[in-house]
Structure formats: C-alpha cells, structure tokens
C-alpha cells in the first residue's frame, strides 16, 4: 500500500492550507485590535484548530504542540474567559510568524528554531497564567511505557469480567447498536450475554425506537480494562455500567466506574505540549527578541494562495506559452490586413469584413488569455495591515490603514515586482510622513493618522496611490539639500511639484535622523527605478501640513505595449506611447551644437539633448539635415530628450518579444516585435536611452544655460 507516499502528498495540501490558515489568523488578529467581535475570534480559533488537528494527524508533533498553546489562548478569548489585550494579540501575531517558519522548516525538513519556539511558548503560557517554565519533558519511551501499562494491564489482569449494562432508552436512536458492542466484546474473549427484559412494557405501551433491555455480560479472558472502556466509551454517559472482575484474583482491579486514565489518544494529546523542548525561558527570550522585532511577516517562501472561490493554479510557463501563441495570431491577422490593401477591389468588402471579425476575435481571445495572468492587487495589499500594525507600534504612532480597490487586477509579474517598492513607500509614509500623536494634536489634526492605499484603472493603466495625511514634504529643506548636493543649479527656479519629486533623485534623504525603519536615503531612487523598469512612472505631490500622495502609474501588462512606430531610413522602431511627451518639427535656429558633438534643442525654456537614432544604431537616414526630420520628445525619470527620426508612422499595440532570449541584450533596445508585414521592429528602451543621453547631455545643457 502506498500509504506513506499518499500521505506525503496530502501533507503538501496541509502545508498550503496551513499557510492560508495563518494568513486568516493574521488578518483576523490585526482587525481584532479594533473590535473584538466573537465571529472574528471564532474564525481565528478555527484556523488554529485546523492547523493543530492537521499537524497532529500528519505527525508534525512540534507544530501541533506549539499550536496547542495558541489554540488554548484563543479558546479562552473566544469564551470570554481571557480578555483580548494588545499584548496577547502581539504575542499571537508573533506566534503566527513562528508557525509560518515552523511549517516552512517542516516542509523543507529543516531543523526548527527551538529557542524561538520555546520563548514564544513561554510567552503564551505566561498569558495563560501558567507557570512559564516549559513543561517537564516527557521522554517518548516513558510515554510509550505508560501507554503500554495502561493498554496491556501487565499488573495482572483478571481472568474475566462481568459487565452490567443498563443503557439509556435512546441508545438505539443514536445508533449505538448493542449487538455491535457485543460483537466487539466477543473478539476479546468468550462471551455470554444475559438479557434482562424486566423493564419491557406491555406491547401497546412499547415505543419501538426505545431500548428497554439491559444485559449482564460474562466475558472470560485476560482482558485489560481499557479495552472494555473503549467499547463502551460512546454509551458511557447516562447508562449504568459496571465492570466486575471475575475468575482469578485481580491484584490491581480499578474501581468500578473509573475510566482508564491513559487512553492512547488522550495521552497523545497531552504529549503535544510536552514535545517542545525545555529551554530556559529567560535565555530563550533574549535570543528570540531580536527575531521577533523583524517587522515583516517572516518567510519569503510564504506563497499567497489563491482563494477557494473557483480559482485555478496554472503554471506561469504554460500561460506564457499561450500568450506567445496568441501574439503570433495577432501577427497573422495584421499580416492579412496589410495584404488586403493590394487586392481586387470587388472582393475587398467581404475580405475587410472577415478581417475585422478576425481582429475582434483575436483581440478578445488575447484579452481573455491575458486575464489568466491577472491577479487582484489584494495579493500585494494583504501584507500591509500587518506591516502597519507592527511599524506603528514600533514608532509609537497611531495609524488607520485604509485599502481600496483591492480587486483591481494586474499582471502577475508586475504585481510581484511592485510589492517591494510599495512596502518601501508605506514604511516611508509611516516613518517620515505621519506624525506622532502629540504633534498631530498640536497641529489640530486627528490623533490617529490615516494611510490610504488605493488602486484603480485609468486609461489602460493601473494607478496605485499611497496617501497619508501627515506632515507633507518640507519643500524648503528639500530644495536646500538639493542645492547642497548640486542636484539643482543655485539660481534654478523649480515648481513645487518639481521640488517634491527631487526626493526620487539618487542619494536623497531628508530624515533628520536616519532610522532603521525606512533606510538611509537609498530608497526612493531605487523605488523609482524599479517602477520605471516595469514601464511605469511614479510621482509625489504634497501639501505641507496636510500630507502627501504618491502616485504610481503602471502598465497592465508587460507583454503588450502601446507603441508609436517611427521610421529612420529603412528601419522601423517602436517607441512606447507612455514615454512620448510630444513630437515637434525641428527649427534650425533652436538647434545648437555644443562642445564636442552634442546637440541640444531649445524647447520653450528647456534645453533637450538630441539623440539621433541614425547615429545611435548606425542606420542611414533620409537626410542628414535635422530640420528635415521630426523630434520626438521622450520623458523618463523626470528627464527629457529629443529623439530625431525621419517620420512618424502608425500607432499600434505590439506584442513584446524578448531580444535577450532570442538574440542578446542590446543597449538602447528594450525588445522587439513583429510587424504586420512580417518584419522585425526593435522597441526603443526609452528610459535607458534617456539616462545615457542625459549623462552626456545634462552637463552640456547646463553649460549652455550658464
């Protein structure tokens, strides 16, 4: 029988389920702080209860033992015996973290962190008012011996038993068939049952569903008392049940009515709490406190599971494959479209009709396939209640977290990559944005600060906003610092918005004291770079004293791009529409060549470095003269460049193909796509192009301005 193998498979389900259970516990505990409603505690309790039951069933005694304490505490809270204190919630949250680690370690068959487990166990016991010492370790052999003694009754059992069994009337109604019990007794030894029908009423008064009989049962054989108890366990209550040893003398016959104390199952449960190793609570605490202080929920391996609500788990690889195929289909369709342009005019209408249908179908197909990759942003948002809870405690701030638009869906890859920047922004808002309660009150604001995370769609993009009602950015200080660091020229005038967005510059931090919460100013520029890498855009707006809003704009997917086709000579390139600010005709008088070969173009009050794609990629343009071409103004990271092209062509959605996996990575190129006529067009890496041009150009532009 492949029992072990099968059980191992089922254990995997248990691990996954436990992680989901822990998520439920965590979010339940976090909302418990506000209102201790009984349904919530029940839910938390059930989750803990399932983890305990499952771990014990699958033989993870240490997980079961640890959860037992957690469950006991929750049970007392749920029954109103134990008050729901902030301390208890904090301990339970840490217990969730610890359990997550235990489960991850158990699954990976790694050793558990005994010190941490013992310490938290001690904390829980402390709350429960029990002695904080770890329970005296009961060695497994001792336990087994105890069981054996109870089971086998080695002390010398009697040669048989006389059992008096007077059941309650509803014995049969509950389907406790006496005949089945007798059959089991018979398996233990020779058995004779004498039915006592004296209580049987006259026929007309007889209720056929009731039991009127009682029995005297003689059973011979060396039978431990525990075996008999097991058989009568279910009917014990309400029945008159007497066991009298018969036959040989019984040296250690238990008193009638007493239950064997060490049934194997009961013993196993007691053993749960004993399994955890004894470690001195004080030294354990010291070692574990560092651990406990880590803010984020532990276990990077914790995989958020999709809920039970009719969802499926699909390997990303398979989905990518489908997406690729649909991309090909799109290409075929656009190939047919361009082919239709030169066909017999008589057939054109029908062909066009068919093609438009094909276009619609492929489009729909593509959209629905893309949907498979889409996940609600709640997968990223869900971790914030815990982060905010832990952090606000640590910073002694009062914070109310509001989430909205959790159901907004975005691409799995985008979702995964946006989570860390979001965490950073939230930590920043808590650390630097929101004030401590006294200062808020002094400023005439509500004591509790508000932090809002909102997600919504806007014109084919997804917008995520992180809003706080804190102090806002100190513009004067930012500007001063930016000047100190020569990020801004001394006489340069900046709008409020431009000043705010200086915080995204590399190496910028305004926190008076560097804290361990939100880092040392290496953060915001990294946040912006990560977001830009996703083809997104971030900006901050802030009102002093009223708070800040950080707005992140992200593409819905990384697989498709809204592109502008541009032509340089015979080559066609694609530029993301998101990067294009405007396109202008080049007037010679605004074009200046600076020292070296750098050209700049004066656009209103600004000097833009000019990037000639023909030079960049070594293609022969229509004309060497700049005023024959068009200047496409691109913006990324707050920097702008003008890109010189020969002509603008159509705008269309293109399917992005990786250049790196099909060829190799090329500077200035983000990828490739296949156009309707089957030719390959390269997609311009706008941020890359801009930053490399700006490096050469900014100095030049500044030199020119000065």
């Amino acid at each position: 029988m492949t029992l072990d193998l099968e059980m191992a498979e089922i254990a995997k389900v248990f691990f996954q389920e436990s992680r989901e259970g822990l998520d439920v516990m965590e979010s339940g505990l976090l909302s418990l702080g506000a209102a201790a409603d009984s349904e919530n505690i029940n839910t938390i309790f059930r989750a803990a209860h399932s983890i305990k039951g499952g771990s014990a069933t699958f033989g993870f005694a240490e997980v079961a033992g640890f959860t037992h304490g957690v469950e006991t505490l929750l049970d007392e809270m749920r029954n109103g015996v134990r008050p729901v204190t902030a301390e208890a919630i904090q301990t339970l949250l840490q217990a969730c973290d610890c359990l997550r680690e235990m489960i991850a370690a158990t699954e990976a068959e790694q050793p558990l962190d005994q010190v941490r487990i013992a310490s938290l166990n001690g904390d829980i016991k402390h709350i429960l008012g029990e002695a904080s010492e770890a329970p005296a370790p009961v060695s497994a052999p001792a336990l087994a011996a105890a069981n054996e003694a109870a089971d086998a009754g080695t002390a010398g059992e009697p040669g048989g038993w006389r059992v008096r069994f007077e059941p309650v009337a509803d014995l049969l109604r509950l389907r406790n068939e006496p005949t089945r019990m007798f059959a089991e007794l018979r398996r233990l030894g020779a058995m004779v049952a004498h039915a006592d029908a004296s209580r049987l009423p006259p026929l007309d008064a007889l209720d056929p569903e009731s039991c009127y009989l009682s029995w005297d049962i003689d059973i011979t054989g060396q039978i431990p008392r525990g075996k008999l108890d097991e058989i009568f366990d279910w009917v014990d209550s309400g029945c008159r049940l007497e066991f009298t040893p018969t036959g040989r003398s019984a040296p250690a016959a238990p008193a009638p009515g007493a239950k064997a104390s060490a049934q194997p199952q009961a013993a196993a449960i007691d053993a749960w709490s004993a399994e955890t190793k004894a470690v001195s609570p004080t030294e354990a605490k010291a070692a574990a406190s560092a651990d406990a202080d880590r803010g984020a929920p532990a276990g990077a391996a914790v995989q958020k599971a999709s809920g039970d609500s009719g969802s499926i788990r699909v390997a990303t690889e398979k989905v990518d494959n489908i997406i690729n195929l649909v991309g090909e289909l799109l290409i075929t369709q656009s190939m047919l479209s361009s082919f239709a342009d030169g066909i017999d005019p008589n057939d054109l209408d029908r062909l066009r009709q068919g093609l438009s249908q094909l276009a619609r179908n492929t489009r729909e197909l593509q959209e629905s396939v893309m949907q498979i990759r889409m996940l609600p942003i709640s997968f990223a948002f869900n971790r914030f209640p815990r982060i905010v809870h832990d952090l606000s405690r640590k910073l002694a701030k009062k914070v109310e977290l509001k989430l909205s638009g959790e159901g907004t869906e975005l691409d799995k890859t985008v979702l995964e990559k946006i989570t860390d920047p979001l965490v950073h922004l939230v930590r920043n808002a808590l650390d630097h944005g929101l004030e401590i309660p006294e200062r808020r009150v002094a400023a005439g604001k509500r004591e509790t600060g508000t932090l809002e995370l909102a997600a919504f769609h806007e014109g084919g993009n997804i917008i995520i906003e992180v809003r706080d009602d804190g102090a806002g950015l100190n513009k004067a200080k930012i500007l001063q610092k930016a000047r100190e660091r020569a990020l801004v020229a001394p006489d340069q005038e900046l709008t409020d918005e431009q000043i705010d967005n200086l915080i995204f510059m590399p190496g910028f931090s305004t926190a008076e004291q560097i804290s361990d919460v939100s880092g040392r100013g290496v953060g915001m520029d990294v946040v912006r770079r990560n977001i830009n890498d996703l083809g997104g855009h971030v900006q901050i707006s802030s009102k002093e004293g009223l708070g800040s809003t950080i707005r992140i704009r992200l593409p819905l997917t990384l697989a498709i791009l809204d592109g502008q086709l541009v032509r340089v000579g015979k080559e066609i390139y694609v530029i993301s529409l998101l990067a294009i600010v405007e396109t202008i005709q080049v007037a010679r008088e605004r074009l200046n060549t600076l020292v070296g070969r750098t050209e700049v173009f004066r656009l209103r009050d600004e000097y833009l470095p000019v990037v000639k794609l023909c030079d960049q990629f070594g293609v022969e343009p229509d004309s060497r003269s700049a005023e024959d071409g068009l200047l496409v103004v691109l913006e990324a990271d707050g920097k702008r460049v003008g890109v010189l092209v020969d002509d603008l062509l159509a705008q269309q959605q293109v399917v992005i193909k990786s250049l790196e996996s099909n060829f190799k990575s090329v500077a200035g190129i983000a990828g490739a796509t296949i156009l309707g006529d089957g030719t390959v067009a390269l997609i311009i890496d706008a941020p890359g192009l801009i930053s490399s041009a700006a490096e050469q150009g900014v100095g030049a532009a500044a030199a020119h301005a000065a």
Binding site: H49, S50, R173, L174, E177, R180, W234
Partner: protein, 120 residues
Amino acid sequence: MSKRILTVDDSASMRQMVLFTLQGAGYEVVQACDGVEALEWARQSAVDLVLTDVHMPRMDGITLVRELRGLLNYKFVPMLILTTESSPERKMDGKRAGATGWIVKPFNPPQLIATVARVL
C-alpha cells in the same frame, strides 16, 4: 454494495486524508466542506454513516448532527464527530445533539477504519 459515508470537514488536507483512507477500505465517500453544504446534500440523499468535524465555518458539526437527526431518513444513521476536543463536555454536546460516537484527532488511517467499522 459498498457503504456510503458522508464526511464533513473544512480542511482540505483532512478531507483528502479521510477520503483516501476510507476509499482504500472500500467505502464510497461523499464530501462536504461545512455543515451547511452537508445538510443541503443530505436533504436529498441518503448515506450509511456521517463523519463530521466540529469546528467549521457557517455551521459546526454539533449543529449539523442535531439538524440531521431531525431529518426522517437520517433518524437512525450512525454519526461520528471527528474532533481534537477530548474534553468530556464536548463529547456530551455531541452526544446530546445525537451523535453516535466520536473519533479523537489525531488519528491514523487504521484507527479511522477501525472506528468506522464499529458502526458500519
């Protein structure tokens, strides 16, 4: 004909474990993930044994047993509650609701089969 067992548990791993064990022992198994689902199913179908967890969302196992006992075709069906609670009060709650008996978790597959065999 093989006996049919209705098992009710909100934990997927427990359901799988019970399913695997009972099917391996030759029983036909019907599953529900809480009391409400089980009761809904039971109103239209008959089984030879009900095996239910206690703590479940929507409707717990004790309530389920009580409700099922009220159904005509479940009047005499054996019902076992499957629970980690070894406390006498919990067992009595189950008993009062009409449970035939109980299985205390953790149990292993042979224990489950042996217990089921006591009533089927």
